[in-house]
Symmetry: D2
Subunit: 362 residues, 4 copies
Amino acid sequence: MSATWGNKLKITIFGESHGSCIGATIDGIEPGIKIDMDLIEKEMSRRAPGRDNLSTQRKEADKAEIISGFFNGYTTGAPLTVLIHNTDIRSKDYSDIKSIARPGHADYSANKKYNGFNDYRGSGHFSGRITAPLVFAGALAKQILKEKYIYIGSHIKSIGHIEDMKFSENDMNRYTFARLNEQRIPLINEYLRQDMESLILEIKDNGDSLGGVVECAIVGMDAGIGSPFFESVESVLSSIIFSVPAVKGLEFGAGFDICKMKGSQANDQFYYDEDSNLKTRTNHNGGINGGITNSMPIIFRVAIKPTSSIAKMQTSINMYKKENIDFKIDGRHDPIIVLRVLPVIEAVSAIAVLDMIYSENY
Amino acid sequence: MSATWGNKLKITIFGESHGSCIGATIDGIEPGIKIDMDLIEKEMSRRAPGRDNLSTQRKEADKAEIISGFFNGYTTGAPLTVLIHNTDIRSKDYSDIKSIARPGHADYSANKKYNGFNDYRGSGHFSGRITAPLVFAGALAKQILKEKYIYIGSHIKSIGHIEDMKFSENDMNRYTFARLNEQRIPLINEYLRQDMESLILEIKDNGDSLGGVVECAIVGMDAGIGSPFFESVESVLSSIIFSVPAVKGLEFGAGFDICKMKGSQANDQFYYDEDSNLKTRTNHNGGINGGITNSMPIIFRVAIKPTSSIAKMQTSINMYKKENIDFKIDGRHDPIIVLRVLPVIEAVSAIAVLDMIYSENY
Amino acid sequence: MSATWGNKLKITIFGESHGSCIGATIDGIEPGIKIDMDLIEKEMSRRAPGRDNLSTQRKEADKAEIISGFFNGYTTGAPLTVLIHNTDIRSKDYSDIKSIARPGHADYSANKKYNGFNDYRGSGHFSGRITAPLVFAGALAKQILKEKYIYIGSHIKSIGHIEDMKFSENDMNRYTFARLNEQRIPLINEYLRQDMESLILEIKDNGDSLGGVVECAIVGMDAGIGSPFFESVESVLSSIIFSVPAVKGLEFGAGFDICKMKGSQANDQFYYDEDSNLKTRTNHNGGINGGITNSMPIIFRVAIKPTSSIAKMQTSINMYKKENIDFKIDGRHDPIIVLRVLPVIEAVSAIAVLDMIYSENY
Amino acid sequence: MSATWGNKLKITIFGESHGSCIGATIDGIEPGIKIDMDLIEKEMSRRAPGRDNLSTQRKEADKAEIISGFFNGYTTGAPLTVLIHNTDIRSKDYSDIKSIARPGHADYSANKKYNGFNDYRGSGHFSGRITAPLVFAGALAKQILKEKYIYIGSHIKSIGHIEDMKFSENDMNRYTFARLNEQRIPLINEYLRQDMESLILEIKDNGDSLGGVVECAIVGMDAGIGSPFFESVESVLSSIIFSVPAVKGLEFGAGFDICKMKGSQANDQFYYDEDSNLKTRTNHNGGINGGITNSMPIIFRVAIKPTSSIAKMQTSINMYKKENIDFKIDGRHDPIIVLRVLPVIEAVSAIAVLDMIYSENY
């Protein structure tokens, strides 16, 4: 049931798609951080809808209002609460869809959990919109991590069947990450962009949707962060990444492909380079051994399913009449949410990394 | 750092490979559960080493001694603590390997985290052996779940390049699960067994190791269990599954393959069957919508890397002399740990499911 | 650092005295509770300032705005977030008092903890005003407890040297509690009211302040709620009661007086009454044995210190110049906060009891 | 239900009075602490029974066996688990007392909570004996705190009606604490010792028991430790102190007496002394303002009830026959447990302080 995540850095989220506002309380942030509002707005705009023809036409300014924990431009150390007002709410009558369990959505499972009392308008508390405050918190975390020379970047590993290459050693640095951060479809191989855009627009015209894979890397973490077992780096990251709606898979380093290697291949051989820095010759373990960082880049890939809301006729059920039905949802949908989930993945990863670092010190 | 997992059902693990014993404290278990010791022993023997030529020759009886929370055959409701004594400890001198960071192992990352104070003998607290108490706890959880008509089963989805088929609807039931539970290499397609055994023995002779994928299913859960966001079924399961050493990937339902589907394919259409039971025509979402169960089987696959300990010459570092070295580890190794990790995956899943159910009630 | 309290029912508070609003997120509340807004407003008005000449003249409507988790009059099961806007903020210049550590206040300790970044205006996040959202949450908890026939009541046990009698068996019931709830100075012995009012007005004229003791009782709890050790009823209640600003002492049952009894007196003898209900002949243990309820009323007393803000000349320090100073605070102060803390004590007790009950079920 | 306490330093306790052993897992302790076993044994012997004629004749060596997290004399950083074997268990038949709810004990409330499945022998998990592992953990915490120049000391403030004086400024230092630590009845005014001993022996001859008050002080804490609200120093300390069996009251600084002061008296005036150290002229707030340390000594008093087990005829109930009875318990009882609870109060305070300090760092 918990709306709160974290050990030392705790984040609590709230709000519903059609309420007056959504938000988050971030507890445990250091006092004295000068918040870079431009950075935050930029990160939030990466997730915001209505940017272009690749996303939903619902327009939300996603303007963050900090109401607590912020004074004279700095964090105070008190709980930092941010509100994001819902502005573009269509006041249409939702009563006709109240009883329909849209496939791929939480309508049925939520109805069961909450005995029908959940706010069903626009998916209510299940709306992807609730990730906006996570992006706010993540932007703040990123800013603090930057001071510790820790950087997070990601790109679209695939959309549908179009595959970008994986991060190579040369791509995992603040400069490439900054470049990717600017792109609407962040790609290592930029020649794929045109194909991907065409595919998205084609599926959009068709009233259908696409999924994809996001690859994310974190560089600059010292060796020794994390824990064996329950708070392994993989556990902590997975716990918050699988909190992001639409995520259905997560793999670290070589991931599922490591299962096809022999031990002699999968083992990343350690060595000291000329400057006596520890390195591994490969990074199949994604920078993590025994749940703990080894100072190599942390790499992981996240599977994101196609947008559940599509403009096609579907079969489903009327939960109240208990009967099978055909139906079609009108409305404004993202033909693909992968582009908008990508900054959320970065954000929650930043939150998790900062919490792990904060939790490490005695 | 946390050795404790869970909300209402809390499990704390402790111990090191070469200490006198390892164990766990299980807090929050209902009073009045008549513990089925045979079932527990059977589950523990599935994980135990030394069963046959497919696993390490280290022999551990893995006999569980309950020292708290158990009285006259029943759980008391007080914290239940179990000890498992380490019996087959070779008293060889470990000082020569103290300084070597074995590739794929936590030697280096742990040394950094613990400033060199960690018990390095036999991987210390990072040993896969620490999962034995998890299997104990999982067996107890399974017993309680059985009373609620919830069953967990799994099979080897792949070893190296040999692929078993996925669970079909017909396989996900208590009878098939019971059959799989009896098998040394649990398979849907049993014709693959001979090939897999041959492959394992071949790699063993070669001093190398193999990885693989475990597929797990949970049936019988009511709709409405789980939460949006931070305690989604995926989050909770992933947090404990990624705690299991050697796990590098996890996917639910169609997993990474869902990224190649269109929304119209990925959406599992709901319908009521003749008995008015809710069903979905496909189960690409693995029984989970919006983080909450929909009553269909929960399905997931876990990527397990090849055993890191191999009998081949490898290159690595001496952490204390800060120099690059060649070395070879002697000792008793599993040519493949997938077979022994499989019951651990079932166990931690049972713990997670029981905690979610316990946490659901007001 | 934690702004969040609770196991299954989690409450997170935020806000500062001079920000735009304060509030709380209540997570884990049952869906389908029809919120009684009148009851909530009434409870909040018990704590609100500016009611009469016995409290500060700062006037705050303390109107609660629910922005999440509430739909069509019922709780949805999603996190319930409430905002309370700060309306009567005097926009005076606080810079002159920024450097003064007011005695009895958190100015100095907060300055040290937050390295001077804390919002010092009107005590910032340390303001007693932050208890308003706790009263909101407590009123909601009380409403749910009432459905379970659990009632909470309290009275002023003492103000300065004027002592009311303790709760007798006859006073601990919903009818007396309802009567006490209506009173500005809730008393068992109502003849003391005039004396207490005179004393308060006298001290107010004198620019000084008073403390007092609140006695609280909870009736209707079944036997078997609570835990040995870390989640004993006393531990759980104390943890949230000592969170209330100005609380310096807490005792259960006979409290400190039990130390002067012999065991033969202190032991509450059990018996079954004519209707076979379990009773104890005395209640020196305050309805709790071994940390667990025994079905008798839970009784406790809370020591509340005099308001720290007084209108007298005091000596203190200038934290920035590091020098000793004389100073006098002007402004609107409560001559006694005990009257306003009393509903907060009831509120946090209700939150704690509901969390304990929610946490009890498997 | 929780057997686990703490944020960053987590302690989990287990065991029952008549099981094979009791113990604790301490998670989150720094690696590299050279454990001072003599110090630990000494602290444990302060709590151990059978020391002299002032305590029960049950003799328990209370020898701690560390089975995890300890290697070559140092903490490893892995969970540290300690076992204490139960040696002096009288194998008498407990079946005759199974059904009796002893007054002052948890027999009835536990029976309700655990549906009769709790181990009732020797109070089972409710036995004061379960505090022995807390003393172990506390001794370890004390050792670490000593390195930070933080010291904890306590004395018997009262037994029955005999009152020692309160801690004066001159008594709160490591030298006086060391002297008190050596005393069987630690007192500021040592002239009272003879009277107290006589009183205890008299009550013992009489088959009855006594309670008392422990006063505890913590010196050396920097200003800025703690939090407003839910993790105030008072909340954190109270939560673990009220976990200790027999504690019925707790007050900080002037405690309940502060309610009789005026604000102008209760406010501790700050000043800088000649060396520019911050001091307060009085310490009625017990070193805590707004939940946060101000660098002055933390002072509190704990009310401990008389031993519930007495050798007198009492009236009570047979829980199974549901009838009122007369009964008398034979056995070995403490005429007063205050002397043995005192080191437990110091221990849990040390645990709490260390956790607060660990939790403070970013």
